[in-house]
């Protein structure tokens, strides 16, 4: 266009100006070239929301890395190292005859002790144990005598299928003791911690969940139980079906039958039972391993993650209310992974050792 100058924006932008001759271009052409470049830089920069990115990766992972048994042994070792296993190696005479007594005796022996020798007999049980669906395949099952003990470390969750087909999702820091083979009239397991049960229907063989201070009897149903020794509040949430909740011995026995959507709370100190209506979707999605968030702030989401994995996460005094997320947050990996994904693209990092959020260092 300019008669004095030979080169135009198109020469410049397609690198056609020979070295040293860039000055043969007018300022207006140079400016226009810059504007064209800017315009192109500004269009078509859609970014996938971080949660969707994480979700898409989970989908890919399920079809690739997690699909075959690529390195189950390595993974198993990692988990094993994180576990605090409490195993009685003394030989207990199981003189009492009923399965219930045997289970409770076994539990009494093995739960609650702070530490003992971790048995070298640790063995992965065979084919009767398979984690349902795509839940983590980390099986930390210790078999002693007639019982399996399934332990889930802190900040982890896991699922297991019992010999009768019942599925149990265990929350972080929980333990489930169940017989290698269900025998007798009753299917009975012992729980320390929190778990979601999806019980295989069998009218002839009622299913009992026992813990240090309560008992739940069911036929076939889905429910969530939280019971920890030293915890004043123990509770169960019934998602579908019917359960009978009982506590105490025959002298001061308390019993209650629940209907779906109810939560029963047992206060150990006051020895009282309380019933409340709750939304069961949250417990269901806990089981499935995700939560849906809709423009929620980072601090609210972190509290949900903490609750989910039953752990405490410090956000110190950071103001996280400006970081908002929408979408589905997948929980199938460990708490550390979830938090790292959440923090990517924010000014924060998660310190897994101290379990707290920190400002990213530049």
């Amino acid at each position: 266009m300019d008669s004095k100058n030979n080169y135009n924006a198109e020469d410049f932008l397609s690198d056609r100006i020979p070295e040293g001759r860039e000055r043969l271009m007018s300022d207006s052409e140079r400016e226009l070239a810059g504007e064209i470049r800017q315009t192109l830089k500004r269009v078509g920069n859609e970014r996938m929301p971080l949660l969707e990115q994480a979700e898409l990766w989970e989908r890919i992972q399920e079809k690739t890395i997690n699909k075959p048994t690529s390195y189950p042994w390595r993974r198993y070792m990692q988990i094993a190292a994180m576990l605090l296993m409490v195993l009685g190696i003394g030989i207990w005479q199981f003189q009492k005859n009923t399965p219930t007594h045997k289970l409770l005796d076994f539990a009494a022996q093995n739960v609650g002790k702070k530490s003992m020798n971790v048995s070298s007999k640790t063995s992965k049980t065979n084919t009767d144990v398979t984690a349902p669906s795509n839940e983590s395949e980390e099986e930390n099952i210790i078999t002693t005598n007639d019982f399996n003990t399934f332990v889930v470390g802190n900040g982890k969750r896991s699922a297991i299928k019992l010999p009768d087909g019942t599925k149990v999702w265990l929350n972080s820091g929980s333990r489930l003791i169940y017989p290698v083979k269900f025998s007798g009239d009753i299917r009975e397991v012992y729980l320390e911690g929190e778990a979601y049960f999806d019980v295989t229907h069998d009218k002839e063989h009622p299913f009992n969940v026992r813990s240090s201070n309560m008992n739940i009897s069911v036929l076939g149903t889905e429910f969530y139980v939280s019971s920890s020794e030293g915890n004043d509040n123990n509770y169960a949430v019934l998602v579908q079906g019917s359960i009978v909740f009982s506590t105490g011995t025959w002298l001061n026995k308390k019993e209650h039958q629940l209907v779906p959507g109810q939560r029963i709370n047992y206060n150990l100190k006051e020895n009282t039972l309380a019933i409340a209506e709750v939304k069961t979707t949250e417990f269901r999605s806990w089981k499935e391993g995700y939560i849906d968030v809709n423009s929620e702030s980072l601090d609210a989401i972190i509290q949900r993650v903490a609750k989910y994995y039953n752990m405490e996460i410090s956000i110190q005094n950071l103001d996280l209310s400006d970081e908002k997320f929408s979408g589905r947050l997948d929980f199938q990996s460990s708490a550390d992974d979830v938090l790292n994904i959440l923090c990517a693209g924010t000014p924060y990092v998660y310190n897994g050792v101290e379990r707290r959020l920190e400002l990213r260092k530049r």
């Binding site: 198109e10 397609s14 056609r16 064209i36 315009t39 192109l40 890919i60 890395i65």
Partner: protein
């Protein structure tokens, strides 16, 4: 430097490092997603394409060539996957299919901080949208994704010379359309 990093990731992935697949994903997810959306406004379709792409990488890991331009390879594969679906959909609906290249600015992009520039840049945006698809694609890959001509030529399956010509013609057309507003601006 970056290219070497991509190549290193690629090589270690082929050599059996599963974690490298995740790193490749993290490295390319943003550019691939944005590029995919140039052919369709259906985000789910783009996500499916990206999923297929990475699943295929894993599936055909043993047969992947180490000597490959990683970026071009990923862009090309994604484009092929998306266009295949679009073509099928068009055929099912009895439409003819031509590979589009969508470059209309989003609403957020239309909000420009500098008020003086906004009118001009908006006009540029409009003119850009009117360019032939191939020119738009070449310009986008060159100035937005900041690829080399060699990489663009591979993705568009054209010669290096054609590729340069597309960029040249695209800018020229924009310049010719814009010069008038420049004169106005100079007079103002």
């Amino acid at each position: 430097m970056f290219k070497n990093a991509d190549r290193d990731l690629w090589t270690s992935f082929i050599n059996g490092d599963d974690n490298a697949l995740n790193l490749l994903y993290k490295q390319f997810i943003d550019v691939l997603y944005a590029f995919g959306l140039r052919f369709t406004d259906d985000g789910e379709l783009v996500k499916d394409g990206i999923q297929d792409l990475f699943v295929d990488l894993y599936k055909y890991r043993e047969t992947l060539a180490i000597e490959v331009n990683v970026k071009s390879y990923l862009f090309t594969s994604l484009k092929r996957k998306i266009c295949l679906v679009l073509k099928k959909n068009a055929a099912a609906a009895n439409h003819s299919f031509e590979i589009p290249f969508l470059l209309s600015p989003s609403i957020e992009e239309q909000v420009i901080h500098d008020e003086n520039q906004s009118a001009l840049l908006l006009k540029l945006n409009k003119q850009l949208e009117l360019l032939p698809s191939r020119q738009k694609e070449a310009l986008y890959l060159r100035f937005n994704a900041e690829l080399e001509y060699e990489e663009i030529a591979l993705i568009m399956n054209i010669s290096l010379e054609t590729c340069r010509t597309l960029v040249y013609r695209g800018v020229k057309q924009l310049r010719e359309k814009m010069t008038i507003s420049h004169i106005h601006k100079a007079l103002a």
